[in-house]
């Protein structure tokens, strides 16, 4: 507590910081990284458990019998036939009719939308969602549970979902006369991937999309109160090998861990093999050796972090999560070797889904126990927010240390004569900060809100950013550069810590890469040092648009190779990744682009300017 009452010591502390911060930074960064990687190991994380007592999974006797399986099979067959007869169009009327015959309240939801990522981006298309509500007999439609299936045409490149629709029908038929339901059950079939799902979820909550260009929809005529949980089924048919649970929603949002644990344990009870985040290695025998086991867990956790960091949509459950509804996707997959004749049929799935529904029906309050922030290294272990935040804190700490050291050096009173020459003020660096942010914000808002061409805005901003050093070399002193560095690093640290609260994975990925770069780039190096060249290269590579381009390059590697002789088309093709990210932002609010352009780009421009002073 001496620090509080003794200002003399803080001076000592500053000196200590200036002289030792580099060593300390390296140590702290490495410790943080090691700590982070250690968390994957079973000794450092926790076993998943169900915190919500009301769920009581697996305690009820299943009612999903062989005849219900028959019903599902018949529904599946009919659906495939309808699909063939209708030339691949959405057999909405037929599905609606099936639900109506079962005796449910069936409703339509029509919407018009514009698909900006498709070839005909200007035409307004029409879509339709179908939903049926099973009214709980004695309840008053206060709460509900959703089972959703995104309908996909036969030509889809994603997993087909006809099996899921057949299961919905069978479940509806099986549970319609049961007296134990306390919550309404909504069976939802959406179309046009995320357009339909987003439209429905927003219409359900009466959130107006009217301000959005070229979007319109009809109001919903029936609702089931507050939705407590939503399960998205992407089941191709009755013969599948294993299930893949997709938890990560938009921008790294996760469902409550109780929902995951409930799903996992009930599928487990039915002996259905389960993987998470598509890591098919989880199906293999559990590795005996430490390293094999560790690497497998690391891969699973890595996939989850990668999915969360990209912020992209993994399934329509993301939209439910956005509206504070706990939700996850269940995908049915076949192993490549078995030729599509898996062992898991509608019966197993039906029993499990019924069990999940019964458990959710037991809920007395909405999901509030257990964890909302976690990473899963395997289906049975998890790393909670309390465990993974400290290592991230350490990883970002070098930025803070460097910033403080630079600040302390700038304001140090040890050498008064030198200080008068070297000192700088906030006023002197303010124009540079404004310029860096102005260019970045201009790029972003110019494209998103003013609708300027992406190539144009990117080109202009890149040109400005790369030409700024010319200005800087004439008008910026070394002292200004030091202060700017310090302010820059503080901004980065604050930004990263704030981001880690919203999307830990994205903050982690950015921190691991950018912390060394930022610390390295701000190191004082002589103008003729060879390290400087490396520094320049490092800075150039860390240009925030580069990873976005890299993403599209990785995804379309083969296409690009074919295009190599025509370099213009290669550039256009590479830019597609950036453009796709912008579309993701405007269509469903993926934060990747705002983070890159509003947070990373200004930092980078400032660093780039400082580098040439």
């Amino acid at each position: 507590m001496g620090l509080l009452t003794d200002p003399g010591r803080s001076d000592k502390f500053a000196k200590l910081l200036i002289s030792h911060h580099t060593k300390l930074s390296v140590v702290v960064y490495i410790v943080g990284l090691c700590w982070l990687f250690a968390l994957v190991d079973d000794n450092f994380n926790l076993r998943v458990k169900i915190s919500e007592n009301a769920l009581l999974p697996g305690l009820v006797q299943s009612g999903f019998a062989t005849e219900d399986e028959g019903f599902a099979k018949k529904a599946y067959k009919t659906l495939i036939e309808q699909q063939k007869n209708g030339n691949g169009s959405f057999p909405a009327d037929e599905i609606k009719d099936s639900f109506r015959k079962i005796g449910l309240d069936v409703y339509d939801h029509f919407y018009n939308f514009q698909n900006r990522s498709s070839a005909d981006r200007t035409t307004v298309q029409q879509g339709r969602n179908i939903y049926a509500i099973l009214r709980a007999s004695r309840a008053s439609s206060l709460e509900s549970v959703v089972f959703a299936v995104p309908y996909r045409p036969a030509s889809t490149k994603h997993i087909r979902t006809e099996g899921g629709i057949a299961l919905l029908l069978a479940l509806a038929n099986q549970s319609k006369h049961k007296h134990y339901w306390a919550k309404d059950i909504i069976f939802l079939v959406t179309s046009n991937e995320h357009f339909g799902a987003k439209a429905w979820v927003e219409a359900y909550h009466g959130v107006s999309q009217a301000s959005k260009k070229n979007f319109s929809d009809t109001p919903l005529r029936g609702r089931g109160g507050a939705i407590q949980a939503a399960l998205v089924l992407e089941i191709p048919g009755s013969d599948i090998d294993y299930l893949d649970l997709r938890l990560v929603g938009l921008n790294g949002q996760m469902p409550n861990m109780d929902l995951f644990t409930l799903t996992r344990s009930l599928f487990g009870n039915q002996q259905i093999p389960l993987v998470i985040q598509g890591n098919a290695k989880l199906l293999d025998r559990y590795p005996e050796d430490f390293l094999g086991k560790y690497l497998r867990d690391l891969e699973t956790a890595g996939k989850m972090v990668a999915a969360a960091a990209s912020g992209a949509l993994e399934g329509i459950h993301g939209f439910f999560q956005q509206c504070n509804i706990q939700s996850l996707s269940v995908r049915g997959l076949t192993r490549s070797g078995t030729g599509g004749r898996g062992k898991i049929g509608f019966r197993d799935l039906g029993i499990t889904l019924e069990g999940i529904c019964r458990s959710l029906n037991n809920l007395l309050e909405r999901f509030h126990q257990s964890y909302f922030f976690y990473i899963l290294p395997s289906a049975t272990r998890f790393v909670s927010i309390g465990l993974y935040m400290p290592p991230l804190g350490l990883i970002v700490l070098p930025v803070v240390l460097r910033a403080l050291a630079l600040w302390a050096k700038g304001t140090s009173t040890d050498e008064p004569d030198k200080a008068s020459v070297n000192s700088s003020t906030m006023g002197a660096i303010l124009p540079w900060l404004l310029l860096a942010h102005g260019i970045s914000f201009g790029t972003f808002f110019g494209h998103v809100y003013l609708g300027r061409d992406l190539g144009l805005t990117l080109g202009v901003s890149t040109f400005l950013a790369f030409s700024l050093p010319l200005l800087a070399s004439r008008f910026m002193s070394r002292a200004d550069a030091d202060l700017l560095k310090s302010v820059n690093l503080i901004e980065m640290a604050v930004g990263l810590y704030a981001l880690s609260m919203l999307n830990f994975s994205l903050a982690l990925v950015i921190a691991i890469v950018s912390v060394p770069v930022a610390v390295w780039a701000t190191a004082v190096t002589a103008h003729d040092s060879p390290i400087r060249l490396l520094n320049a290269l490092l800075l150039f590579v860390s240009f925030p648009i580069v990873p976005l381009i890299g993403r599209s390059v990785c995804e379309n590697w083969s296409d690009l190779l074919a295009l190599v002789p025509h370099w213009e088309s290669v550039i256009v093709h590479s830019l597609k990744g950036v453009s796709a990210s912008f579309v993701e932002y405007s269509e469903y609010g993926n934060w990747l682009v705002p983070v890159a352009f509003l947070f990373l780009l200004p930092l980078w421009i400032s660093n780039w300017v400082i580098f040439w002073v």
């Binding site: 509080l4 206060l142 009466g206 309050e365």
Partner: protein
């Protein structure tokens, strides 16, 4: 519906005469109305009605439940309506019920004009009802009750002639669950309890597992004849249930019988009642076979398609031992062919998150040509911060705003009064309109959260009053012929003609000029609809947080206390460092001394150690002074 009784004046006179011939002055009747629905459910409506001459004080009643009469008398109540309901009546599938009721509990009373201390009277009344029906009406206080302007008007006579709405009190308890503990005391109010007559059929297990179940108690002063020469106090006790017969699940066919639905056999009527009838809606006769054949049937006059079979339990109606009373549909159920009600409403919470939200109510008028005026009442709890400027009614067809003919906004007060929104507007023909209002959520005091705070908070249903231009003065989908009230009723309802002596009976009519209009006109009927209740989730604190805060605060305080205490309590004085070297220096010196002494003479150690202890106290001071010096 009440409208059913509006033309019963003539027959009422006859009845009144017949009643006066008996020694008892009370009349009593019981009836059960059964209607098979197109969804495969069966609608059951039990009605037990009794009446007695209106008096200032009742020393004795023959058939009327004395506890109820006593409560009325004690709390100066003219008219009282109580409802306890489980589930929502699905208008789009089942049509309109004979008696509408909101989910949960509802109490609505009209006090005598000379009643003093209305808040206390209201509190006393709800507490008494709470005890009478084992319901949590005692939770009713000013924070969840209001005086409706137009939606709830007296349904019977108003002896004092004072129609000021400040005499009324209205409250809803949306979270109330109805169970056997309510049904059992309710059954005790019947003349024969559940021992004889139709009361025997009230099987708790069957009724309470129904899709919809509602209990009601209505007390109204009425006229016995056209001239209103005699005024009576009428008590109506009803139970409504929508039950699903077992056959629905097995065969997807409607095949019902009283024995199947209620697991009880029919008997003769209650001996204390004057009339005891079972009425079966046989409008669907083409698709359904009914048994046994009835003594006589009634045909609904205006549409002529309605047909009601009447079974008189008082006149030796015999039941086949094996079959009892029932019906069987000849065809399988066709879902989705239910009729579209003229007016239907759907309400929901708009928005997500815990900062702000809104309530939207979509009201649809399916009538192809007639515009319908509705009066809409919304009672929102005080913990929603309602923005009255956001209230809007717009057409969903073309987005145009619908003008409000009349409006009343009563802002809520924290823990004292709910928000009271009552508006009257006209819905054009074949149009859907949306009522909307926005609000912010508030944080409650941490002791005000219920144990299941994360379940959400109940918002009571909205009330929609409509005056429909239906022939015959009937709104219900259940065809209820006018003549029928002669059989079921035993008591008279006052009608418009009763207004001759200035005692006017009003119901909430949504008239644009704001003038109260009588419902008992030849072509109108008053319909009251309740929307579904809602659940809103308020921002809920993490209840383990106080613990964390206490830990954190204590740690910070403990850490800060030491230095602050030292700084404020110590005596600072200047000390020469040469004479009193710093602690470290002295320890080093002493150590050296010790070491040398230890080598020479071991016994001296004890002495030195003792000296050192003596020196401890001033040392601390030295240290501090040194620090302040360096500053």
């Amino acid at each position: 519906m009440r409208g059913a009784f509006l033309f019963s004046v003539l027959i009422g006179v006859v009845l009144a005469v017949s009643a006066s011939e008996k020694r008892v002055s009370d009349t009593s009747s019981e009836e059960l109305f059964i209607s098979p629905l197109k969804t495969g459910h069966v609608y059951l409506h039990f009605k037990f009605a009794s009446s007695t001459p209106l008096k200032a004080h009742y020393a004795h009643t023959d058939y009327l439940p004395k506890p109820v009469v006593d409560i009325l008398e004690k709390h100066s109540v003219d008219e009282l309506h109580v409802r306890l309901t489980q589930g929502v009546f699905r208008h789009s599938k089942w049509g309109y019920p004979i008696l509408s009721a909101p989910t949960g509990g509802e109490v609505w009373a009209w006090f005598k004009p000379d009643a003093e201390g209305l808040p206390e009277k209201w509190k006393g009344l709800t507490n008494s009802l709470s005890g009478l029906l084992c319901a949590t009406f005692s939770k009713i206080d000013t924070a969840n009750s209001l005086s409706p302007k137009w939606n709830f008007r007296p349904e019977g006579l108003v002896p004092g002639g004072n129609l000021n709405s400040s005499l009324s009190r209205y409250s809803m308890l949306p979270g109330e669950n109805v169970c056997t503990e309510n049904l059992t005391p309710w059954k005790k109010l019947l003349p024969c309890s559940d021992r004889a007559g139709l009361g025997r059929l009230l099987n708790s297990i069957k009724l309470l597992s129904a899709h919809y179940f509602s209990l009601s108690l209505d007390v109204t002063p009425v006229c016995a004849d056209v001239a209103c020469s005699q005024k009576r106090l009428a008590i109506e006790i009803t139970a409504t249930a929508v039950v699903a017969p077992g056959s629905l699940q097995d065969t997807n066919q409607l095949n019902w019988s009283i024995r199947d639905l209620l697991e009880m056999d029919l008997d003769t009527g209650c001996p204390l009642t004057d009339k005891s009838h079972i009425l079966v809606d046989q409008s669907s006769q083409g698709q359904m076979v009914f048994w046994p054949s009835s003594t006589f049937t009634l045909t609904h006059s205006p549409s002529a398609k309605g047909r009601i079979a009447v079974y008189d339990l008082k006149h030796n109606q015999t039941w086949e031992k094996s079959r009892g009373l029932g019906g069987k549909s000849t065809a399988r159920l066709e879902h989705g062919t239910e009729r579209q009600p003229i007016i239907s409403a759907h309400r929901f919470v708009a928005g997500y998150g815990q900062q702000n939200g809104g309530i939207r109510c979509v009201i649809e008028n399916t009538h192809p040509t007639a515009a319908i005026t509705v009066s809409y009442l919304e009672m929102l709890p005080w913990f929603l911060r309602v923005y009255f400027h956001t209230i809007r009614v717009k057409s969903l067809v073309d987005g145009r705003p619908i003008p409000l003919l009349k409006s009343h906004f009563g802002p809520g007060r924290d823990r004292l009064a709910p928000h009271h929104i009552e508006v009257i507007f006209t819905i054009p023909a074949a149009t859907t309109v949306e009522f909307g209002v926005d609000f912010d959520f508030t944080l409650l005091k941490w002791t005000e959260y219920p144990p299941d705070a994360h379940r959400g908070f109940d918002v009571p249903p909205a009330v929609i009053g409509v005056k429909l231009d239906q022939p015959g003065g009937q709104c219900g989908d259940f065809i209820f012929p006018a003549e029928f009230s002669q059989l079921g009723g035993g008591q008279m309802r006052d009608t418009a003609t009763a207004s001759s002596d200035g005692q006017k009976r009003d119901t909430a009519t949504a008239s644009s000029d704001g003038q109260m209009r009588d419902t008992a006109t030849a072509s109108g009927c008053f319909l009251r609809l309740y929307t579904e209740p809602l659940l809103v989730s308020l921002p809920t604190p993490d209840f383990s947080m106080p613990y964390n805060v206490i830990c954190m605060t204590c740690t910070v305080l403990a850490l800060a206390f030491g230095p602050i205490h030292a700084l404020t309590t110590k005596n600072f004085k200047l000390i020469d460092l040469a004479e009193n070297p710093p602690l470290l220096e002295r320890v080093k010196r002493k150590g050296q001394l010790l070491l040398t002494k230890f080598r020479k003479t071991p016994p001296a150690v004890v002495v030195v150690a003792a000296e050192e202890e003596d020196d401890q106290q001033p040392d601390v001071h030295d240290e501090d002074v040194k620090n302040s010096d360096s500053e």
